[in-house]
């Protein structure tokens, strides 16, 4: 079978295997992308609309192609506005999806959904938010990765050179649990209104556990330790880091008067490693580090503290997770090559956007 043909014609009972044989899947079975299913996914939208070109192959990401991948991922039509917005965000130059798709690092794009659409399409923001069990989260995250893979040609060991890959590469989609957050919406800090629905793409590692008792010192002290590990890319390369604060921790911090901004400031000031720690491990040379570290870091001073990001706002703080559990998690980023991108989701099936950043 040729993967360059517009379509394949196969016996019904062979459809699943045909998708595997054509190299279209991520290793899991897919929903066979029949014309009827794709038409339902696309609705009244213009299937020829190009969201961008997907590196490294440079294939145009038409809405039609994205819809085919959304069908294969198992999405419902009501999920498609989030999928297409996420695809548009991933193709925004600031995100640098070429680097993310081709890097040897373990970072992969993950999706963060905020606003009313979280409830409207049944996204899970509670127990198991990063894990399996919810169709919306699993299929939306999977659809983005299938589309990036199939249109960008990001195949492991060919042009996706990630040494290990990342389980979030199957499906990385979380939602904000706004109802238990003591702070404004995640997207509000990124320039949107509370009642708007947004999608953010962030390239990062799988979540790392932050286990801490429910007092401010315990939570922030443990977060500082977890977030400043030398094994992450951040201390070497800066970039961004995602901190997902669990409801118990969020309630404690908010109850003690901590805002998102003061938490960011505290972590920026304290999640640091002295220069001597870098010299001890010799991961890279000082010349390489100096190109990434802020100018004020004195690489000749062994006691100088090196932050994990250049600016407190580069620590992205989301509230999500189940009610019980003294846990938060952090997802280190992949360096300074790209930045998280947030776009508005517009659930208008007519898709009459006049703003290219608005879907």
């Amino acid at each position: 079978m040729s993967s360059t043909a517009t379509s394949l014609h196969v016996p019904v009972e062979a459809a699943m295997d045909a998708c595997f044989d054509a190299g279209w899947t991520d290793g899991l079975p897919v929903v066979p992308p029949t014309p009827d299913r794709v038409a339902q996914m696309l609705g009244d939208r213009d299937g020829d609309k190009v969201l961008g070109h997907v590196p490294p192959a440079g294939t145009p990401a038409t809405l039609h192609k994205v819809a085919i991948n959304a069908v294969m991922a198992g999405c419902l039509p009501r999920h498609f506005p989030v999928v297409s917005a996420a695809m548009q965000a991933a193709l925004t130059p600031e995100f640098n999806v070429l680097g993310v798709q081709a890097t040897t690092h373990v970072a992969v794009p993950m999706i963060i959904v905020c606003g009313p659409i979280v409830g409207e399409i049944g996204l899970n923001a509670s127990y198991g938010v990063f894990g399996p069990g919810c169709r919306a989260n699993a299929t939306i995250g999977r659809a983005l990765h299938l589309a990036l893979r199939n249109l960008g040609g990001a195949f492991p060991g060919v042009s996706d050179m990630s040494t290990f890959g990342n389980p979030l590469g199957f499906a990385g989609c979380v939602a904000e649990r706004r109802s238990v957050s003591p702070w404004p919406g995640f997207h509000v800090d990124r320039g949107f209104e509370e009642d708007e629905s947004t999608v953010t793409v962030f390239a990062g590692e799988a979540p790392k556990s932050i286990v801490a008792t429910n007092d401010v010192n315990g939570i922030l002290g443990t977060a500082v330790d977890t977030m400043s590990t030398l094994g992450a890319a951040n201390p070497h390369l800066m970039g961004e880091m995602l901190l997902v604060v669990g409801p118990e921790h969020a309630g404690c911090l908010g109850g003690e008067g901590w805002s998102r901004r003061t938490v960011q400031e505290h972590l920026f000031q304290h999640a640091r490693r002295p220069v001597r720690d870098f010299l001890a491990v010799h991961t890279y040379s000082l010349d390489v580090w100096r190109r990434s570290w802020p100018d004020w870091v004195d690489g000749s001073d062994p006691d100088c503290g090196v932050p994990i990001v250049e600016d407190p706002e580069d620590i992205l703080i989301l509230v999500a997770g189940g009610d019980a559990g003294r846990f938060s998690v952090c997802c280190p980023g992949w360096g300074r090559g790209g930045r998280a991108v947030t776009l508005r989701v517009n659930d208008d099936s007519g898709w009459t956007s006049t703003d290219e950043r608005e879907l």
Binding site: S3, L8, A18, C19, P32, V288
Partner: protein, 95 residues
């Protein structure tokens, strides 16, 4: 049961195809540039290979380029400069 049509989720024939540049036919007298990815040792590796190409094969070194940061793409202007002045390009990644 009959057949079912499955739509291709990948690229299709018809979009712009690109091919690799042809190899340098003759090293003697060729102008060679180097591009490193900005990681540790990439520049050293390239300098060593360039020196051998100059000594053994009589190439000229046209331009030495480096990514500003290894997470970033090469600057388009640098790519254009290299394409303008070079018969061939050496690339290396270090780490």
């Amino acid at each position: 049961m009959g057949d079912v049509e499955l739509l291709n989720p990948m690229y299709e024939s018809g979009h712009e195809e690109r091919s690799l540049a042809p190899p340098v036919a003759e090293l003697a007298g060729a102008w060679i540039s180097s591009l490193d990815n900005g990681k540790w040792n990439a520049d050293r590796l390239l300098e060593g290979v360039l020196a051998q190409l100059v000594d053994r094969h009589g190439v000229g070194v046209a331009l030495r380029g480096s990514k500003q940061h290894y997470n970033h793409d090469l600057e388009p202007a640098l790519v254009d400069d290299v394409a303008t002045v070079s018969d061939g390009v050496l690339v290396a990644i270090g780490d």
